[in-house]
Amino acid sequence: MKIRLILLWGILKKNVIERKRYFFNSISGLLTIYLIFVLIFFGMKSFVSGPQFGNTADGLVVGFFLWNFIVQVYSELSNALIREARWGTLEQLYMSPVGFGWISFSQVLSSLAIFFLANVGFLYLIMLTTGRFLSLRIASTFPLLIITLLGVAGIGYFLGGLTLVFKRVESLLQIVQFLFVALVMVPVESLPLLKHFPVSFGASLIRRVMIDGTPITGLPPSDLGFLLLNSTVYFLLGYGAFKYFERVAKRKGLLGHY
């Protein structure tokens, strides 16, 4: 376990150094997303008015915060694999005696930690911009967010596996981010089938915490259980697919070539 923690710390440290050293690149992505949000928000403001506006704006703030977080998490593994393969370091990671499974999970965890800090800042920025201050309720939001993102990480693993074998998956990553817009924004109450997809149910519960002010203890245990089951299933399916694609890549000698 100690070895795994050393590795996790090493990867977190490396990620922080890289992002600090290329700070402009790191921050410009968030600024672009912020500008898109501003355009959407003020565009919406010119069409929606009256008491309806408040609910819609709150939904937009939470939805945009979640969507941004989700996109970062699911694309991180694929992007990391692409980067490492381009740099010629992917093989080194694969040769670690700790195993690539833990390395990839550490990469996801360390990115999650960095994204969390960045996205909380981003959330405050968009709340300031919109004037809609929502209840963060970290103790309630954080566990729901983590469980929801577990399923998202599964999707990330699936796409990461595709990256190992097919290499050029950037277009697919872009398409998937639009699918996530629908999964985050469309309420499961209006389309119950969505409950079985990744993210949707988690987003719905997070909205209840952040907009309605319901604490996690006020949510039905069956809903929490369903969210945990849903995310675990997607995580395991995604990870299983990744291991399958990894075997294919090793058999065909595709690992590391980009």
């Binding site: 090493g10 440290k13 490396k14 890289e18 370091t89 080194q92 700790v98 690992l255």
Partner: protein
């Protein structure tokens, strides 16, 4: 790859040599579990790479793509700390050794400079250091001197030799550069089209070809009809007559005993024999002979 089978003893430096597409890199990648072979077994210290890669590769490091095996955004010190943690080694406990390692590779002045700002030679040395910080017992090097200038290449060779001699690290290295193989390796495995053409000690291979080649230097010129008769009766290559009235020609004989009838004939023709010496082929000639000759180890 087909029928490739060899073993490397502890502390040996073994070279993999072969033309493009021979399978050198594939061999190294199979050993490092980056490619799964369709059949056969690879073991390191008795542990199967296929069934237990993490355990088998515990003491193995590799430099696979020259200067591309490092993080260019990180400094040499940060790179080494990261690669130590990749092995599960706490970098805090390695700081002294990291400094020593960077000093031994003459990188101490650049230890806090991002790797992208280093010269190619320095980057390649950093890649080697990143592999060494993982305390390997087996080190795999794919083209370790590719792209290096003469001085950097010599430094790299010396360092590689010292690893085996002083630290008893086992090394398997591939190279296109036959000088590197001849200079650094004890044994060589020559591959061609995914098969082993030959595996032997480097000095044995040099001896083998040295024994089959003689050079005879004559004083004065030979008559054209004598040259013609020699060409007809022996397998000889003659150099053109030189201005100094000295004719030297190299004689390639299929069997060493042919040299005596040849010398007898030259004596009969009244030629003045200045010297007879065994040819000293360099490793490039040996390699070309083996690869083009198609000698098959199987």
């Amino acid at each position: 790859m087909r029928g490739v089978s060899f073993s490397v003893d502890k502390g040996e430096i073994v070279g993999l040599l072969g033309p493009n597409g021979a399978g050198k890199t594939t061999t190294i990648k199979c050993i490092s579990s980056l490619i799964t072979p369709t059949s056969g077994e690879i073991t390191i210290d008795g542990v199967s790479v296929q069934s237990g890669p993490n355990e088998a590769l515990k003491g193995t490091s590799a430099v696979l793509e020259g200067n591309r095996n490092i993080y260019w955004r990180l400094t040499p010190r940060e790179n080494l700390e990261f690669f130590a943690s990749l092995q599960g080694i706490n970098p805090k406990n390695k700081r002294g050794e990291i400094r020593k390692l960077l000093t031994s590779l003459k990188l101490e002045e650049k230890m806090d400079t991002p790797a992208r700002k280093l010269s190619r030679g320095m980057q390649q040395k950093l890649a080697l250091a990143s592999a060494l910080v993982r305390e390997p017992q087996l080190l795999l090097l794919d083209e370790p001197t590719l792209g290096l200038d003469v001085r950097a290449s010599r430094e790299m060779r010396e360092r590689v030799k010292a690893l085996a001699e002083e630290e008893n690290i086992t090394l398997l290295l591939s190279s296109h550069d036959m000088d590197v193989i001849e200079d650094v390796c004890l044994k060589v495995i020559i591959l061609k089209s995914g098969r082993i053409v030959v595996k032997d000690r480097v000095d044995n291979l040099l001896d083998l070809f040295r024994a089959e080649e003689y050079k005879v230097v004559l004083g004065g010129r030979l008559k054209e009809e004598v040259k013609a008769s020699l060409r007809r009766d022996f397998s000889v290559t003659m150099s053109p007559d030189s201005e100094e009235l000295r004719t030297g020609f190299e004689v390639e004989v299929a069997e060493a005993k042919q040299i005596y009838p040849l010398l007898g004939r030259l004596q009969e023709e009244g030629a003045q024999i200045v010297s007879v010496s065994r040819g000293s082929p360099d490793f490039e000639e040996v390699f070309l002979n083996l690869v083009e000759g198609g000698r098959d180890e199987d």
